[in-house]
Symmetry: C2
Subunit: 430 residues, 2 copies
């Protein structure tokens, strides 16, 4: 190996184009540390401190004591290997019932090492053969398309509208896939305040999507990291809450509601699985083998942190997280107002007005590629994400994603002013 391994001999996922793009973004961010980053979609850092770690652990241990575990059992619960599907099923099921009206047995919940692992588990379990493909909204969160590439599963894009996915388009794509001799196993989407587009699906479209899933014999992978952070209190029912036909596998994350460093996510899969002898199990239970082969089980200490957080929240994040909700609302409103102020008079610039979440998309009269991003960081002191990063083909070339989750309002305003200057200086005819 002294001569080295040839990079082209490594698996395609090593050279994943989205990851290469994200690496580029990280490099640019590192080279221009003083630039305002409207690229970073991470949660704001002011909500939790390291003291919380100790308190959450103590809260969870006290909870275990109330459940009747003696000191030796509590120690084993946190320090030993544990149940493959994790310990938080009861608390998460309670949270889903209270916050989302999702009623599932605790055995349908699998705790994962972040929502990323939940995607890998669901993809791997559902796609069995070379003809099994998944549909996914486009533009799409790169972690999903990358996970599919890792497993050699083809992703068929379904273009998004301003109102999120159009169910009839989903049906048409699914039928075309089936007509081509392949089997569409699932559809991936983020129905609330999507990453990257910010788009949300209206309630009637959600209901129709579930009908379409049944017609096309699809499961729906519903990813919902931002659902708590709507601009208003209007109910936006999760697909899983409307899912009377058990078509939806729900993917959840505590990275935004609690904090990312716990790396705790989960999936809810209450579908019946039937073997040839007619025995029935829950899909979440069947998927535990896949989970065990990825990471054995999710760190029970990390689970305990989120467990403590859930207990302190009374298992209702909608009630307990009002400070966070207010913060993200204010930031998104600030972003949308700043866009209005900076771009209202600028020809060829359009942006959407999401109802919540961390992101908005701006269409600009120039090619928003890596080269422009570098100029933007170096000469204008502002970073953003090219929308082309979220497309498999050549879509999104004249659009960019702005994120407002990690900043203070004044930074958002200044960042948008700098972006407007860039666009004014470099606008090019189409």
């Amino acid at each position: 190996m002294r001569d080295g391994l040839a990079r082209e001999d490594l698996h395609a996922s090593v050279s994943d184009p989205a990851s290469a793009s994200m690496n580029f973004l990280n490099e640019v961010s590192a080279r221009f540390p003083d630039a305002i980053s409207l690229a970073a979609g991470r949660p704001y850092e002011g909500f939790h401190g390291t003291d919380d770690l100790h308190r959450y652990l103590r809260t969870y241990l006290a909870h275990l004591e109330r459940l009747g575990l003696d000191p030796e059992q509590r120690q084993r619960h946190l320090l030993q290997y544990g149940r493959t599907n994790g310990h938080l099923g009861p608390l998460i099921a309670r949270m889903l019932a209270q916050d989302e009206g999702i009623e599932v047995p605790e055995q349908a919940v699998m705790v994962t090492t972040g929502a990323q692992e939940a995607m890998v588990v669901a993809l791997r379990g559902l796609c069995a053969g070379p003809g099994d493909v998944v549909l996914a909204v486009e533009p799409c969160y790169v972690g999903f398309t990358g996970a599919a590439r890792l497993l050699g599963i083809e992703v068929v894009p379904v273009p998004e509208t301003a109102d999120g996915l159009d169910p009839e388009t989903v049906l048409a794509v699914a039928r075309a896939v089936r007509a081509g001799g392949r089997r569409p196993r699932a559809l991936y989407l983020v129905p609330n305040f999507a990453n990257p587009s910010g788009a949300s699906m209206p309630v009637p479209a959600r209901r129709r999507l579930l009908e379409v899933a049944a017609e096309a014999d699809l499961l729906v992978l519903e990813d919902d990291p931002y659902g708590l952070f709507g601009l208003d209190d209007e109910p936006r029912p999760a697909l899983k809450a409307l899912d009377t036909g058990q078509r939806v596998v729900y993917l959840g994350s505590f990275a935004k509601s609690c904090f990312p460093g716990a790396r705790i996510g989960f999936l809810v899969a209450d579908q019946s699985v039937i073997d040839r002898q007619g025995r029935r199990t829950l899909l979440a239970e069947e998927l535990s083998t896949v989970k065990s082969l990825l990471t054995v089980n999710t760190s029970p200490v990390a689970q305990a942190l989120v467990g403590g957080f859930l207990i302190e929240s009374g298992c209702s994040l909608r009630t307990a997280l009002q400070e966070k909700t207010r913060f993200y609302r204010r930031n998104l409103r600030t972003l949308l107002t700043a866009l209005e102020q900076s771009f209202a008079d600028q020809p060829g610039v359009r942006w959407n007005a999401p109802d919540g979440g961390f992101f908005a998309v701006v269409e600009v009269p120039l090619t928003a590629d890596e080269g422009l991003l570098e100029i933007s960081g170096r000469d204008y002191g502002v970073l953003w994400t090219p929308m082309s990063f979220f497309h498999a083909g050549d879509g999104g070339r004249r659009a960019l994603r702005l994120s407002c989750s990690a900043l203070e309002p004044a930074q958002i305003e200044e960042g948008v002013r700098r972006l407007a200057q860039l666009v004014r200086d470099r606008a090019e005819p189409r």
Copy 2:
């Protein structure tokens, strides 16, 4: 989905035979909770308490402070998303240098969600196409063969001898694979006190194996969870310590040295990777894309626990873990003595005498299958693991693995007595 999903439509890894076997073992254990488990290979639980969690966190935070991180940076380090390959590279590199004489740059270390994820990352990165296969010692740790199945990678078994893998057999198998038009990318083995066999490779065979790896153009995946727990202080150099040709990717685990609940493992991959433009990177850096698509990054809180443990150990586990080493030595000696006492006069029973680790193998004059295990648990109050679980073919049918890591000596002795009674009662002519 009201009618349910057909289990046969799920991916083959869901029905992984080894996992099915392990599930059976867990079920039997749950049904006979009073049976002595010589099946459980988990570490003993008496070494760490929940107070350690708080102390390790504080130790690691103090370490970050000494490194010059201000309170905000320390908070971000633990609670935010973090570097894909983790934070513990410097501490792990120091540990490997002190304990193993392995000298690698900290950038060659990737922190993973347990050694299981390290296996998935290495397998995925190295096996690019359908003709890429891996060789693995047989009998083999089921987590490895299962991870390969998850990724659709074929595992070609290389039979183990009493002295671990024979390098010439490895060479012959690798050549046969290549002659068959496939490409052997790597060889998996546990050179120290293997799971399940307990076998270890003599030092000359280790050196020869590295020559063979170069001749056959193989990488070696060296899994070393038990290396600290030799019966004596004789040096057993890791393959990675002898690896002047950068043929070895080293897989490590803190589940046995620290505790399993942190779910922290790592891989060391200091191989050069060269792209078509001649640019060089380290394999660990290239593999970070794969890692990011599995779990984004390993929980920095969980890393902090192991970080605190490493700092308190002066990054030398061989020095710091003497209590654990003494405990496991005593247990293995107890197991071997008990086997001698219970089985010396029994015809047809043979066992090996490993130089360390958690396991020994007993050959018995009867079929040691799931049926016998159930009888053993119910009527004899002792559990063990059929060796057939660790074979792809029909090997290991009249052998069982005994583990002595999680028990007190008196339990080990009683467990072996019960096992001897079972074998006496049910011995059958071959």
